[in-house]
Symmetry: C2
Subunit: 117 residues, 2 copies
């Protein structure tokens, strides 16, 4: 699969709400996941990436997601996620996020998340 | 200026249509500019980046631009450009593009362009 193929498939899975599945399908064993904020911005490995996703899913109610992309350049691609959601105990809000993925050997070697607003 | 400050200012300039000015203000001397396509995907230095912009401006008529962002993470940020334009001798079309900028020492060390389809 080319980077474009992987990018297209990942976007399709996310459009169907299958975020965890898209990760399980494409994360490299030692995937580097980089957040914009927080005490520990960088985490390494599938277990950590999966844990972030599980924490997120448990602490936010998602009302709807718009997924735009992919936008490809070489072994990298960008996907935009616009999420209508309510954090646990918080106010309903919209999260506007860009994810930049780097593919190596058919897997996500790096995922880096950028926030607007 | 923080990366967020530079990102905000660059987006403001682009929203005003001042693409060339935003580059002149923030390109590092040895800026690396990376296209998604073409014979020479990578170019180095302000003269090359400026030349690409001048070629582009001379060969496309721009009817309107929507600029979204910035989306920041550390020393990087993403900006989306959606451009309603007509290539010289071609059909009017929409270009949907993401730019990922890397800032070092208050300047754009790298700009990398991603295209949707």
């Amino acid at each position: 699969m080319t980077t474009q193929d992987i990018a297209n498939d990942l976007v399709e899975l996310c459009k169907e709400g299958k975020f965890a599945e898209s990760g399980e399908k494409y994360w490299a064993q030692d995937v580097l996941s980089v957040e914009a904020m927080g005490d520990q911005r960088e985490s390494r490995g599938i277990a950590a990436a999966r844990g972030k996703g599980e924490w997120w899913a448990a602490n936010h109610e998602v009302h709807g997601v718009v997924v735009e992309g992919p936008y490809v350049n070489g072994d990298q691609f960008v996907v935009r996620f616009k999420m209508d959601m309510t954090p646990k105990g918080g106010q309903r809000t919209t999260m506007d996020e860009m994810a930049v993925y780097t593919i190596k050997g058919g897997k996500i070697a790096e995922e880096r998340f950028f926030y607007g607003g």
